[in-house]
Symmetry: C2
Subunit: 117 residues, 2 copies
Amino acid sequence: MARAATTSDAFNAVAEPQRRRILVLLRGRERPVNELARALRITQPRTSKHLRVLREVGLVRVRESGQQRLYGLEARGLQPVHDWVIGFEQYWNESFDRLNEYVKHLQRKEHADGSRR
Amino acid sequence: MARAATTSDAFNAVAEPQRRRILVLLRGRERPVNELARALRITQPRTSKHLRVLREVGLVRVRESGQQRLYGLEARGLQPVHDWVIGFEQYWNESFDRLNEYVKHLQRKEHADGSRR
DNA sequence: TTGATCTATTCCGATATGGGCATATATCCT
DNA sequence: AGGATATATGCCCATATCGGAATAGATCAA
């Protein structure tokens, strides 16, 4: 086995910088492929490929409009990522380290008291 | 060029399910490699390799303790991911579409009033 | 119909991956 | 010292990328 397919889930899809930029560009309004390609300064085929990945993991939706295809953000697909990261939020406050130490300190004390009893 | 190196940033590091699980296990307390390997039911070498990736992107820190190495969470490394996803939070509420329309409506009105003045 | 425009797909090459296995390294114990 | 335990690395394979170029489709305009 090699690395998990990029099309497997939102985590993988979003690991690609260009794809993140696409999603940002799609925030607020739909855009056709060429506009995205120009904005990102990458080729049209590459853009289409990225969009396909994003589509397959449900981060984006398409709508035909004449000879263009308007891509729109499907933000709900990012929720799993959001939810997962949120679970770590409390751990990156500087103060947490100290709080953690304090809690451990209390636990040690309690433990000592307990065994003494 | 091939896919971006997994060691390049937190986004890539976290795209791997096993690595996400490692980070979850490290939430709360440090753990030696073997304990992680057992918990994840993967081989020790594989565990070490994942830990290396996590270390290189600053999501984990090591501390020697006898013949063991205790790995600890470095949650701040997840902040970029957190910050990025947060930027989409408002877009996945069902109600957003309607709210958005409403806001745009107000803006149009304000604009009209402005130019009229 | 013919030509122009917009997108998607295919083929190619270079590269990095995740996994298993064997092995090197380091530390502890007797 | 010698053995046991805990980790890290190296090597190999199969695979799945990302990127470019060319091309196939689709749709619109004259």
